[in-house]
Symmetry: C2
Subunit: 496 residues, 2 copies
C-alpha cells in the first residue's frame, strides 16, 4: 500500500500524472450512449448559425431547426392562461393586479395554498404536490371515460424523460443472459436507446411496418421477443403512441393485441403517450393503454402492469423548457412502488413551475370561467395549424420523386423515406458516415435546413429516412418542404 502511494507521489512530482478520468477509465456505459436529436448535425447547425452571425456568406440566410420537437422555439406562442397562472404563482404580488382574470387568480391561490410555505420556492413532496396529482387523476378519469385514477399512482416528473428513465431503472437487473431486455420500436425516440445503454440493459428492437403506415404488428413483436430470449431476459415493452418519429396513431384493435401479447409473455408495458393531444388524421383517435386495458376486463384489468407517460412539452402547450410531466403506474407491485417513491425522493422534487403548468393543462378553464373562450380559441388554433401542417407535409413530400411519406396521423414529425443513389451511399461510406447522415449534412450545408437522419432513430437495413418536425410556421413550412424536395432531386442527379 505504502508503495503504491509512493508511486503516485513520485509521478506527481515528476509532473507525469495522467488524468484520473479519461475515456479509458470513465463509465463505459455512458460512452455507448447516443442521442441523435442533439447529435453532430445539431452541433454543425449551431456553428453555421454562428458563421451567419459573423457575416460568412452562405447559400441561405437562416438555419431552420426542424430537428427537435420544440414548438415555441419555432415561434408558437404560449397559451396565455398557462402563463398567467404561473406568473401569479411566481410573483404573488400580482394577485392584486387588475390585469389578470379572476379565474387565473383563483387558480394560482389554490396552487399556492398547496405549496410548502405557500411558495413555489419550497421543495414539493417527491411525487409532486398532492393537489396537482389529484387534478391529474381527474384529468385521466375524464380522458378515459370515467375509469378511476388514483393520485397515489401518479408521480410528477422533470419532463416525461425523467419518469421514463426512472421506470427503466427499476426494471434493470441480471447479468449476461439474464440481463433485462426491453423491447422498443424501430424507429424509436432515442431517449430509449440512450437510457438502455446507460443502464446496461439490452435493447430489443421490434420494427414498425412502414408499408402499413408504421403500424405495430404483433407477429413482429413475437419475432423480436423470441429471438431476444436467447441472449437476455425481456421484461418490458415500450410503445410510443402517437409515434415519434413515425407519426402513426395506433388503432384500438392494435392496442388490444399488444396488451394481450404483453400479458401472455409477461412484459411490463411502458406507454409513451406524450402526444396524446396531437392527433390530426381523420379516423384516427387516441386511446390510452390504460383505458383499453381496463375495458378488456379480467384477467388483464387487475393484472397487467403498465406505466403511462405524459408531458407539458408537447400537445398544444409546447412548454418544453419548464420540464413538467408525469407517469401513472397501473397494477404496479406495492413494494416496488414504495421503492420508486424512495428512489425519486433522492432527487428531492420535480420543478414546481412545471408542476403548475401541468396542473393548468390537466384542468383547463371550465365553460363558466372568464378565461374559457380565449383558452379554447388558442388551444384550437394551435392544434388546427399543426393538423394543416401535418397534411401539407405528407402532400408535398409525396409529390417528390424518390421521397415517400406516410400520413402524419399524429405527434409532430414526418419520417419520410428517401431513395439515395448507390454512388451517394458509397461516397458516404468512404467518409465514414451513415448514408442518410451524409444526405442530411449536405442538406444543412446547402439549404440551412436541419433535420435528423433516420439512422439516429433506427430503420430497416438499406432504407434511408430523415425526421423533420412539422413545427415551422406555415409560411415557412411550404417553401421548406419544397426546398428539401428540390435538394433531394439535385442530390440524386449529382450522384447518378
Amino acid at each position: 500500500m505504502a508503495l503504491r502511494t509512493g508511486d503516485h507521489s513520485q509521478a506527481a512530482t515528476n509532473g507525469l500524472k495522467e488524468k484520473v478520468l479519461t475515456l479509458d477509465t470513465m463509465n463505459p456505459c455512458v460512452q455507448k450512449v447516443e442521442y441523435a436529436v442533439r447529435g453532430p448535425i445539431v452541433l454543425r447547425a449551431l456553428e453555421l448559425e454562428q458563421e451567419l452571425r459573423q457575416g460568412v456568406k452562405k447559400p441561405f440566410t437562416e438555419v431552420i431547426r426542424a430537428n427537435i420537437g420544440d414548438a415555441q422555439a419555432m415561434g408558437q406562442t404560449p397559451i396565455t392562461f398557462l402563463r398567467q397562472v404561473l406568473a401569479l404563482c411566481v410573483h404573488p404580488d400580482l394577485l392584486n393586479s387588475p390585469d389578470f382574470p379572476d379565474d387565473a387568480k383563483r387558480r394560482a391561490e389554490r396552487i399556492l395554498q398547496a405549496c410548502g410555505g405557500h411558495s413555489l420556492g419550497a421543495y414539493s413532496i417527491s411525487s409532486g404536490t398532492q393537489l396537482i396529482r389529484e387534478d391529474v387523476a381527474r384529468y385521466i378519469e375524464r380522458r378515459d371515460g370515467g375509469i378511476p385514477a388514483d393520485p397515489n399512482n401518479i408521480f410528477l416528473s422533470t419532463g416525461a424523460s425523467d419518469a421514463i428513465v426512472t421506470l427503466l431503472k427499476l426494471l434493470v437487473a441480471g447479468e449476461g443472459r439474464t440481463r433485462t431486455g426491453v423491447l422498443i420500436p424501430i424507429p424509436q425516440y432515442p431517449l430509449y436507446s440512450a437510457a438502455l445503454a446507460e443502464l446496461n440493459a439490452v435493447q430489443v428492437d421490434y420494427y414498425l411496418d412502414e408499408e402499413r403506415a408504421w403500424a405495430l404488428d404483433v407477429a413482429e413483436l413475437r419475432r423480436a421477443l423470441l429471438q431476444a430470449r436467447d441472449h437476455c431476459r425481456p421484461r418490458a415493452l415500450c410503445i410510443i403512441n402517437p409515434g415519434n418519429p413515425t407519426g402513426q396513431v395506433q388503432t384500438r384493435e392494435c392496442i388490444e393485441a399488444v396488451i394481450r401479447f404483453a400479458f401472455e409473455e409477461g412484459l411490463f408495458l411502458l406507454a409513451d403517450e406524450v402526444y396524446q393531444d396531437n392527433v390530426y388524421a381523420e379516423g384516427s383517435q387516441f386511446y390510452s393503454f390504460k383505458k383499453v386495458l381496463t375495458e378488456m376486463g379480467p384477467p388483464y384489468t387487475a393484472r397487467q402492469e403498465l406505466a403511462s407517460f405524459h408531458s407539458v412539452s408537447k400537445g398544444y402547450m409546447g412548454e418544453c423548457g419548464f420540464r413538467g410531466g408525469y407517469v401513472e403506474v397501473v397494477n404496479m407491485d406495492a413494494a416496488v412502488q414504495q421503492q420508486m417513491q424512495k428512489l425519486r425522493s433522492v432527487r428531492l422534487c420535480p420543478p414546481t413551475p412545471g408542476q403548475v403548468l401541468l396542473d393548468v393543462a390537466v384542468s383547463p378553464p371550465a365553460p363558466s370561467d372568464p378565461s374559457f373562450a380565449q383558452f379554447q380559441a388558442e388551444r384550437r388554433a394551435v392544434l388546427a395549424e399543426l393538423a394543416a401542417k401535418a397534411k401539407l407535409t405528407e402532400q408535398v413530400f409525396n409529390e417528390a420523386p424518390g421521397i415517400r411519406c406516410n400520413p402524419v396521423q399524429g405527434a409532430m414529425y414526418s419520417f419520410p423515406r428517401v431513395q439515395l443513389p448507390p454512388r451517394a451511399v458509397q461516397r458516404a461510406q468512404e467518409l465514414g458516415l451513415a448514408p442518410d447522415m451524409f444526405f442530411c449534412l449536405r442538406l444543412l450545408e446547402e439549404t440551412g435546413i436541419c433535420v435528423v437522419p433516420g439512422s439516429g432513430f433506427g430503420q430497416r437495413e438499406g432504407t434511408y429516412h430523415f425526421r423533420m418536425t412539422i413545427l415551422p410556421p406555415m409560411e415557412k413550412l411550404r417553401p421548406l418542404l419544397e426546398t428539401l424536395s428540390q435538394f433531394h432531386a439535385k442530390f440524386t442527379r449529382e450522384y447518378s
Copy 2:
C-alpha cells in the same frame, strides 16, 4: 421457446401470473438506496399532520419540519427581485406593466433574447442557456478574485443534485476489486450514499472530527483511502463545504492539504459548495476549492481535476422548488467533457425558470440599479437572521445536559450529539430501530418536532446525533430548541 411462450399463456389463463416487477426481480441497486432526509420519520410527520387536520388530539398543535433545508417552507420570503425577473420572463405582457422596476425588465428582456423563440417554453441547449453560463462564469471570477472561468466548463443543472449524480455517473467503472470507490465525509448529505448505491459504486467513508468542530483531517483521509484500496479503486473525493449536516466551514489550510492529498493520490475532487453564501461564524470565510487550487500554482493548477457544485436552493435565495444549479468542471479531460455533454443532452435541458433564478442570483443588481437597495436589504436580512439562529442554536443546545453542539459556522443545520441512556439504546434495539431513530420518533410523537436521526447521515459507532435545521422563524426557534432540550432530559430520566 414455443414451450416457454405456451407456459406463460397457460399461467395467464389460470390467473396465476406473478407480477413482472417485484422486489425479487427489480433493480437490486435501487433497493439498497436510502435517503433519510425524506425517510420514515418524514412519512410519520405527514401522517401526524393529517391527524391534526382531522382533529385528533395531540400534545402539540403543529408539526415543525426541521428535517429539510427548505427555507421557504419554513416561512422565509423570496427575494423580490428574483421573482420579479422570473415573472416577467414567464409572462412577457408584464414588460408593459408600471409595477415592475426598469432593471427587472431589462434583465428579463436580456434573458428572453437568449432563449429559443424568446420564450422560457423552448428547450435550452443541454448545458444551459449560453448567456446564463457566461453570467455564471463572471460570478465565479468575481468570487475567486479574478481567476478566469470559462462558460464552456459550466453546466447548468436541475438543482445541484442532478449535477452531482452526473459527475458520479461518469466516474463509475470496474467490477469487483476494480470497482470505483468514492470517498465521502461521515456524516454526509445522503444524496452521496444514495447515488453511490444506485450506481453500484463503493462508498468509502472518512470521518470528520467532531472534537475539532467537524474538521477534515488528512490523516483520516489517508486511513480511509489505504483501507479502501484493498477492495476497490478509489477515484474521487467528495467534500461538502460548508458542511451538511455538520455546519463546519473549512479553513484555507485544510483545503490546501486536501488538494495536495487528492493530487498525490490521483483522486478527482468533487466540491459541494452549495452553501457558499451561508457562512456565519466570525473568523470563518468561504474559500472555493477552485480558488485555492489555482493559487497553489503548479503542478496543481493545471492538473488537479475538480468539479464544484452550486445551487439556487440554498444561500439567501432558498429557491428549492425551482431546481436550479450548476457545476463548474476544472481540468476535466476534453473527451470526457464531451461525453458529459452528450449524456446531459439525453435529458434535453435543465428547467428554464431555475436557469433564470440562477442568472439573477449570480448577477444581482448593481449599485446604480433601481433595485439595488431593496435587493441588498432583503439579502442581508435573510443572512443576518440565519447567523443569529445559528448562534442561538449552538447556545441553547450547549446549555442542555447531555447535548453537545459544535458551532454552526455555516450551512443551515446543527448536528448535536446526544447522550442516550443504555436502557433507551436497548429498547430501540428491541424495536429494531437505530437508537437515535427511536429518540427522534419519540420526539416527533410527543412534541411535533421533526428532525432526522444521525444514523441517516452516518456517525461514529456508539455516538448518537440528530440534524435539525436552523430555518424555523426566530420566534419559533427558541421555544423549539428549549422543548427539544427538555424532551431530551425527560427521555433520559425515563430510561435511567
